[in-house]
Amino acid sequence: MNENLYQLDACNLLCPMPVIETQNRVKELNVGDMLKVTCTDPGVKNDIPAWCRINGHEIISIEEDGRKIIITVQVGAD
C-alpha cells in the first residue's frame, strides 16, 4: 500500500466547506493515502469524522494548535 501524505488548508472556512474540500481532495487520492487537513472551524471535530465514518475513511488523529485544528484522514476503499 502506497501511503503518501498530503496537506489541505481549510483555515477560515466555515462548515460545510472544510468537509467539501476534504471530500473533493480525497476523491483524487488513493486508498491508504493520508490527508492532513488544517481548519479553524471547531465544528470540523464532529463533521470530518462523521463524513469519514459514512464514507469508509479513517481518522488517524485530531490535534489542536491554538485556534487551528489538524485532522489526519486515511483514505479508505470506497
Partner: protein, 344 residues
C-alpha cells in the same frame, strides 16, 4: 436493486422520507447542496456566546443516522443565478424558494444521470411551505428540473399522481404517505413509529435568505455596489458582526465579541481594518472605498463600540490590506450621533 438519491437538508422531513424508501429495500444515498446561504450551527458558532451549542452538520448527522452515504456538493457559483434572477420571484424576504427547489432537484437529476441512479426523493409535503410546497407548484418543480416522474415525494406521494418508481413497482405506493398542510402531527407519529429520539428543528428554516435582517443586508450590499454580483466572502460576512453604513461608498463590519473578532481576523488581508489601541475594542473591517475623511468617521464609530466610548480621546490604528498602517486619535461618537438609518 434500484437506487435513489435523497435531498438531505438535515431536517426531519428529508430524514423520514428517506427512511420510508430505505425500508422498501431501495439503495439510497444522500445529496446535500451548499449554496453559501445555508444556516448551520457552525455559522452561529462564530459567536462565542453560542460556543456551548452542539456543533454538527445536520445533513451529515442524518446520513449517519440513516446509515447512508452523503455527497455534499458546492453549488455556490451556480446558485448565484437563482438568487439574482429568480424566475418565480422571492418569498417574504429574499428567499427564491420555488426556483431554489427546482434548481436543487435539477442538480440531483444531473447527478442520478451521471451516477446511474434511478430516481430522486425529497421530503416535500404539500401545503407545508407557502411558496415551494403547494399542490400547484410541485409539478412545476418536477417539470422545470427535468426530473419529471423520476421525482418522488414519499411523505405526500398519495396526494400526487403516481411517479415512475410507483408505476414500475420499484416502490410500493401503498406504503407511502399522504401528508399535507403545516401540521407536524403526522411527522411526529412517524418519528414515534421509527423511535427516532433526536432530530434537528431549525428555527426559521435552513436558509439565511428567509431571514429578514440578513435579507436587508443583502439588499443594502447590492444597492451600494450598484450590482447584484457577489462572492462567497460577501455573503458570509453578512452573517457576522454589526453592519453600519454611513455612506453609499463604504460600510463598517464591527465584531460584536471574541468569536467574531477571530473570524474577521481572517479577512485582514482583504479589507482595510481598524483596531482600537488605547482601549479594549472590537476589530472592524471596512467594506468599500472610503475617503480619508470617511476613515476618520469610521474610527469614531468603531471607538463607540470600544471600552473607550466615554473617553475624550481614543487611539485607533487603520491598516490597509497591504498592512500600511496609520494611527488616528479621535473622540468616539455618542450613540445619538450614529443615526438609526446607518444600521443595516
Amino acid at each position: 436493486m434500484y437506487k435513489a438519491v435523497s435531498l438531505i437538508s438535515g431536517g426531519l422531513d428529508s430524514l423520514l422520507a428517506t427512511k420510508l424508501i430505505i425500508d422498501q429495500g431501495i439503495h439510497v444515498e444522500g445529496i446535500n447542496f451548499y449554496t453559501g446561504f445555508c444556516v448551520e450551527g457552525h455559522t452561529h458558532a462564530i459567536r462565542k456566546k453560542d460556543k456551548k451549542k452542539e456543533k454538527r452538520n445536520n445533513a451529515l448527522w442524518v446520513a449517519e443516522e440513516l446509515g447512508i452515504k452523503l455527497h455534499i456538493i458546492n453549488v455556490i457559483d451556480e446558485y448565484k443565478d437563482v438568487v439574482i434572477n429568480p424566475k418565480h420571484g422571492y418569498g417574504q424576504h429574499m428567499n427564491p424558494c420555488l426556483d431554489c427547489k427546482g434548481f436543487m432537484v435539477k442538480k440531483a437529476y444531473e447527478w442520478i444521470l451521471e451516477n446511474e441512479f434511478d430516481f430522486i426523493i425529497t421530503g416535500e409535503v404539500i401545503g407545508q411551505r407557502p411558496m415551494s410546497q403547494r399542490k400547484e407548484t410541485m409539478p412545476i418543480i418536477a417539470e422545470e428540473s427535468g426530473a419529471g416522474d423520476r421525482l418522488l415525494r414519499p411523505l405526500c406521494a398519495k396526494n400526487l399522481p403516481p411517479t415512475l418508481p410507483e408505476l414500475e413497482g420499484w416502490v410500493n405506493r401503498d406504503e407511502l404517505k399522504d401528508f399535507s398542510g403545516r401540521s407536524r402531527k403526522p411527522q411526529m407519529a412517524l418519528v414515534n413509529f421509527y423511535n427516532i429520539k433526536d432530530y434537528a428543528q431549525p428555527a426559521g428554516g435552513c436558509c439565511f435568505l428567509t431571514d429578514k435582517k440578513y435579507s436587508a443586508k443583502l439588499k443594502d450590499m447590492w444597492q451600494a455596489r450598484g450590482s447584484r454580483e457577489y462572492e462567497l466572502d460577501d455573503i458570509m460576512l453578512l452573517k457576522v458582526g454589526r453592519h453600519i453604513r454611513p455612506s453609499e461608498n463604504y460600510k463598517l463590519i464591527i465584531a460584536r465579541e471574541e468569536g467574531e473578532v477571530n473570524y474577521l481576523e481572517g479577512y485582514k488581508k482583504q479589507f482595510t481594518h481598524l483596531r482600537i489601541l488605547s482601549h479594549h475594542g472590537p476589530l472592524t473591517l471596512i467594506d468599500g472605498d472610503p475617503s480619508e475623511q470617511d476613515l476618520v468617521l469610521a474610527a469614531q464609530i468603531a471607538a463607540r463600540y470600544s471600552q473607550g466610548r466615554q473617553a475624550e480621546q481614543v487611539e485607533v490604528e487603520i491598516k490597509t490590506p497591504e498592512f500600511e498602517a496609520k494611527k488616528l486619535t479621535i473622540k468616539p461618537l455618542s450613540a445619538e450621533q450614529i443615526p438609526e438609518k446607518w444600521h443595516v
